[in-house]
C-alpha cells in the first residue's frame, strides 16, 4: 500500500460545547468542506467509511451530501480506533477497485447530546450485559465510564513504574500550549500552568479534570483517493505511507472493560499495531518528524509513547517531562492540541492536523516535517498510520 493512496482533501466544522445543529448537519458540513478542499464534487465520492460509534450512517451522509451511487461502505471499529482504521479500509477499497474516492468522517455532539463521560445511565433498576458485551462483570460495580477504567490503568502504571501526576500533567500542558496558539482549538489563548493542572478537581484517582479530553461538538472529514490524483488537488495533500492495526494475543471481548484481565494492563495494543505500521510504512519511530497521538486521557497518550517506540516500557513519564515532545522538541506531538485541548472529535482531528503539518499550513508548523505519525485506539485494539509529505 506504501504511498499508493493519498489524502487530498480535509474539512472540519467549528468545535464547540454546543453546535446547535444535528450530527447529520455537522457531518455534511465537514464532508462538503473536505470534498471542496480536494477540488471534487459530491458526485465524485463513491465510498464512505465510518466509526461504529457514529450516529450518522453511510447512507444518511450520502443522501445529505448528494452522492449518486455509493459502491463501497464500511465500519471500522469503535471510538478512537476508527480514524486510522478508516484510512486503512479506504486504501483497501480503492486498491481493490471497489471505490475511487472515499470519504472518511466522524461527527458527534459529544458535549451537548451524547457525553461519553456520563457513562451508562438508567432510569431505574436495569439489567446490563450479556451477549458478548461482558458488561455484567463491570457496570454493576459502578465501573461505568472510560475515565474510570483509564484511572485504574494509570494507578497500575504508577505502581509498576513510579509514574507521577506531574508527568501526566506535563502531557496535558504540551497539548494545551499547542492549542493556545491554534485559532480553531477550543483552548485557543487559554494557558494552563502545572499549578492549574494539579489544582484541578480529582475525577477518579489518580486522574484529575485536566487529565481528561475535552468533550466536544463537531465533525471532521477527509477524502482519500489514488496518489496520482494528488497533482490535481488544489491544495495538495499527503501520501498514506502505511497503516498498522493490531490486536494483541490476549485481546479481550467487550467494549473496553475486560482489558483489566490482559496480561499487562499498561501495555496498550499499540505495541502490536506499531510493528505492523513500521513494517508497512518502511520507517521506524526515529524517522517520525511529528506525531498526533490519540489522547482521550493523558495516560493513554503516555502509554502510546511507549507502545510506538519513542521510549522504553515505563519510561513515558520521564519522556513527557524531557521537553522532547514540545513544539520545539525533537518529536513534537499533538500540534493542534489534540483531544485534550483542540477538541474531542474522537481522533479524526488528529488526521486533519497531520495533513496540515505535511501541507505546511499548521498553526504550529514544524519546519521540514516529512513524516507524521497518527495513532488511534488505544483499547482493546490499536490503529495507526504514517502520512508522508507530497513530493
Amino acid at each position: 500500500m506504501r504511498d499508493r493512496c493519498a489524502i487530498i482533501g480535509i474539512g472540519a466544522t467549528d468545535f464547540s460545547r454546543d453546535s446547535k445543529r444535528s450530527v447529520v448537519t455537522l457531518a455534511t458540513q465537514a464532508s462538503l468542506a473536505a470534498i471542496a478542499d480536494a477540488g471534487l464534487a459530491p458526485a465524485d465520492i463513491d465510498g464512505i467509511v465510518r466509526c461504529n460509534h457514529d450516529q450518522v450512517t453511510h447512507n444518511a451522509l450520502a443522501a445529505a451530501i448528494g452522492v449518486p451511487n455509493l459502491t463501497y461502505w464500511g465500519e471500522t471499529g469503535p471510538g478512537g480506533v476508527a480514524p486510522c482504521a478508516m484510512l486503512g479500509q479506504a486504501v483497501g477499497a480503492i486498491l481493490s477497485g471497489q471505490a475511487r474516492a472515499v470519504l472518511a468522517f466522524r461527527s458527534l455532539n459529544g458535549r451537548s447530546e451524547v457525553r461519553y463521560g456520563a457513562g451508562v445511565q438508567s432510569p431505574g433498576v436495569q439489567q446490563v450485559g450479556g451477549f458478548g458485551t461482558y458488561d455484567e462483570f463491570y457496570l454493576p460495580y459502578g465501573l461505568l465510564a472510560a475515565g474510570q477504567l483509564f484511572a485504574l490503568i494509570a494507578q497500575r502504571h504508577m505502581i509498576q513504574f513510579g509514574t507521577t501526576s506531574e508527568q501526566l500533567g506535563a502531557l496535558a500542558m504540551i497539548c494545551r500550549r499547542n492549542a493556545e496558539r491554534t485559532p480553531h482549538a477550543q483552548m485557543y489563548g487559554r494557558p494552563m500552568t502545572l499549578e492549574n493542572y494539579l489544582a484541578s478537581r480529582m475525577i477518579s484517582t489518580p486522574l484529575r479534570l485536566f487529565d481528561y479530553c475535552l468533550e466536544s461538538d463537531g465533525a471532521c472529514a477527509v477524502v482519500i483517493t489514488t496518489a496520482d490524483r494528488l497533482k490535481d488537488a488544489p491544495h495538495g495533500g499527503a501520501y498514506i505511507r502505511g497503516v498498522g492495526l493490531g490486536c494483541p494475543p490476549d485481546m479481550k471481548g467487550g467494549m473496553m472493560f475486560p482489558i483489566t484481565t490482559r496480561t499487562d494492563m499498561t501495555e496498550v495494543p499499540g505495541y502490536i499495531a506499531a510493528k505492523a505500521l513500521y513494517r508497512n510504512a518502511g520507517v521506524g519511530p526515529e524517522e517520525i518528524d511529528v506525531a498526533q497521538i490519540y489522547d482521550c486521557f493523558t495516560i493513554s497518550l503516555l502509554l502510546q509513547l511507549e507502545a510506538y517506540g519513542f521510549c522504553g516500557r515505563g519510561e513515558g513519564g520521564p519522556l513527557a517531562e524531557s521537553g522532547a515532545l514540545n513544539h520545539d522538541g525533537r518529536m513534537p506531538i499533538n500540534t493542534a492540541g489534540g483531544n485534550m485541548s483542540e477538541g474531542y472529535i474522537h481522533g479524526m482531528n488528529h488526521i486533519l492536523e497531520a495533513v496540515r503539518q505535511l501541507r505546511g499550513t499548521a498553526a504550529n508548523q514544524i519546519a521540514g516535517a516529512e513524516l507524521c505519525l497518527i495513532t488511534g485506539g488505544p483499547l482493546p485494539t490499536g490503529s495507526s498510520a504514517v502520512l508522508r509529505k507530497a513530493s
Binding site: V128, I203, F257
Partner: protein
C-alpha cells in the same frame, strides 16, 4: 434511579452468577489444558478445546489496581467509592472488579477476600474486601 444489575441469563456467563447466588466464586476453566478463562467463553482460546466448565476457587486474591471515584455520574453510585481490580488466587490471569465503600488507603498486592452482595433484583455479585490479617471476614 436504581442501580445497574447483571444480566444473569447469558448462556456463557450465567454459571458465574448462579454460583455467586450459592456463595461460591467460580472461574471458567479448561479441563484439557487447565487454563482459566475470563471473561468466560465455551471455547478454550488457549488449547482450542471445548471441554470447559466452572471451577470453584478459594475466594481470595491480591489487589492489582484501584481508583477512588470522586466525580459522580450515576445517582445509584454515590461518590466517593473505590473500584478495585483483584487478581484472583488459584486462577492465573483472572482479575475481577469490586467496589469498596469510601476512599480507603490501599496498597498494591494487598490480600483481598470475596463476599457476596445481593442486589435489589435478587441477583448476587461477588464483591471484595481487604482481607485484614487475623480478622475473620
Amino acid at each position: 434511579m436504581g442501580p445497574l444489575v447483571p444480566f444473569i441469563h447469558d448462556r456463557d456467563t450465567a454459571g458465574f452468577f448462579e454460583a455467586a447466588a450459592g456463595g461460591r466464586l467460580v472461574v471458567r476453566t479448561c479441563a484439557d489444558c487447565a487454563a482459566s478463562i475470563h471473561p468466560p467463553t465455551a471455547h478454550c482460546p488457549y488449547c482450542g478445546g471445548w471441554n470447559t466448565g466452572w471451577r470453584t476457587v478459594a475466594g481470595t486474591g491480591r489487589l492489582h489496581s484501584w481508583t477512588t471515584v470522586t466525580h459522580q455520574i450515576h445517582p445509584a453510585y454515590p461518590t466517593p467509592y473505590t473500584l478495585v481490580v483483584v487478581a484472583v488466587d488459584e486462577a492465573p490471569g483472572v482479575r475481577l472488579i469490586g467496589t469498596l465503600p469510601g476512599a480507603p488507603a490501599l496498597r498494591a498486592e494487598q490480600p483481598m477476600r470475596v463476599l457476596f452482595e445481593t442486589l435489589p433484583d435478587g441477583s448476587v455479585l461477588p464483591q471484595w474486601r481487604v482481607d485484614e490479617v487475623g480478622v475473620p471476614t
